[in-house]
Amino acid sequence: MTPNGAVLFGFLVIAGALIARDLGSLAVILAIALIFALGSRERIWSALAWSGGIVLPLALFMALVWIGIVGRAPAEIAANTEGSRTAAAFFVAIICLRLFIIAFAIQAASLHFAGWTPLRFVGALSAPPVVKKLLVLTLSLIETILQAVDRARTALIAAGLITRRHSWRNLRHGWILVQTVWLTVVTIAIGRTRDKWPIEDTLGRLDGALASNTPRLNSADFAWTALAIAGAAAALGLR
């Protein structure tokens, strides 16, 4: 599967999930996403767990609000009827299943490229060169920022400005960590932009490294896309 195919598949599955209005059609879409993810066997469990972990807190709050407090579904509120907790429960289940499918579809699509380097993945995308450059730059700067966060946090804890745990001091001074990290990384970026990149034409080299021989779409992409469209159609049909 190519990155373009994965993006397309992901979009179609998510579109299907958004079109689907009831549990039955959502189950069809979920099944398609699961079949797709089965290709990456070991990682499918962590993808399921991660998606579940993202949705669970939302599900709990939604259940508390809709089933616990409000006690009826939005359609019943709009129709000004008595409503029931059962209808509210169905409403929450549909929303949560949809959210789970969206989270899982994204994870399932990216599972196929777990062994790819970011440069290879971005290079294989069909996107304008400036977009690819931006993605690569951003990914690189994220690593620089995270490293700076670790080092600056050490220094600021040693200086007594922030603490390891929750504290009022962190509320007052936590922003200093953000500022220090920002300025550190801006300084690094200034050096590169002013000196290194013009002398080396590093960005020109990046264009070469991003040029890819991978086909835009391959047969696996077409097969999965067809399946995703079928699923969306089924969801539409079951409405």
Partner: protein
């Protein structure tokens, strides 16, 4: 419009948006703060308004896309909100750049502008986000909004109204804090970097 320094600024702000969630977690702050980079990008590129909107939006969009892959898969759904925040930041908040950078700091003017621009950004964000919150989340996006929405629903408000009112209760505070942080970061940014972001004399990349 997209010179190399501006590409760097976009990437820096996108990376900042992505990483701030990480920082917030490490310092154990009870807030979210996902648009500081978007607002900051607009401040940096100002006074070139069109470029500021474009660069801020792209920074915000890349931020939510990458965050969507790794941290929170529901962030990309708020792309229109990102565009709205970018527009407000470039057209309105950025008019305060001189105040933000003034040394010595004129506190009443600084605080006044931060609150005004923050509240407006919050209102715009709440209005644009409401349909997404309703359709995707059934009105409840987390602990902060849950009880506010429940209150409005219990009083008989329709879901869309409840989500909108809930957003209008929480977003202005959140966005004011983010405008404050963006303004402080802008204030601290070295002159050399801001000078690099001015439009190129010859035609840009």
């Amino acid at each position: 419009m997209f010179t190399t320094p501006r590409l760097v600024a976009i990437a820096l702000c996108a990376a900042l948006n992505f990483a701030i969630g990480n920082i917030v977690y490490l310092v154990k702050l009870p807030m979210y703060l996902d648009s500081i980079g978007t607002i900051l990008c607009a401040l940096l590129i100002f006074p070139d308004r069109l470029a500021a909107i474009a660069c801020a939006f792209i920074a915000g969009f890349i931020g939510v896309t990458l965050s969507g892959l790794v941290i929170n898969p529901f962030l990309p759904w708020f792309t229109l909100t990102v565009l709205a925040i970018a527009a407000v930041s470039a057209l309105l908040t950025a008019t305060g750049t001189e105040t933000f950078r003034a040394r010595p700091l004129h506190v009443p003017a600084f605080v006044g502008k931060v609150i005004l621009f923050g509240v407006i950004t919050g209102i715009v964000s709440a209005v644009v986000s409401a349909p997404v919150v309703v359709y995707l989340f059934g009105g409840v996006t987390g602990s902060g909004t849950a009880f506010v929405v429940a209150f409005f629903l219990k009083t008989g408000q329709q879901l869309m109204n409840s989500a909108l009112l809930s957003g209008l209760t929480t977003e202005p505070i959140d966005k004011t804090l983010q405008v404050l942080l963006a303004a402080l970061l802008y204030r601290a940014t070295p002159r050399e970097f801001i000078a690099m972001l001015r439009p190129a004399q010859s035609s840009a990349a």
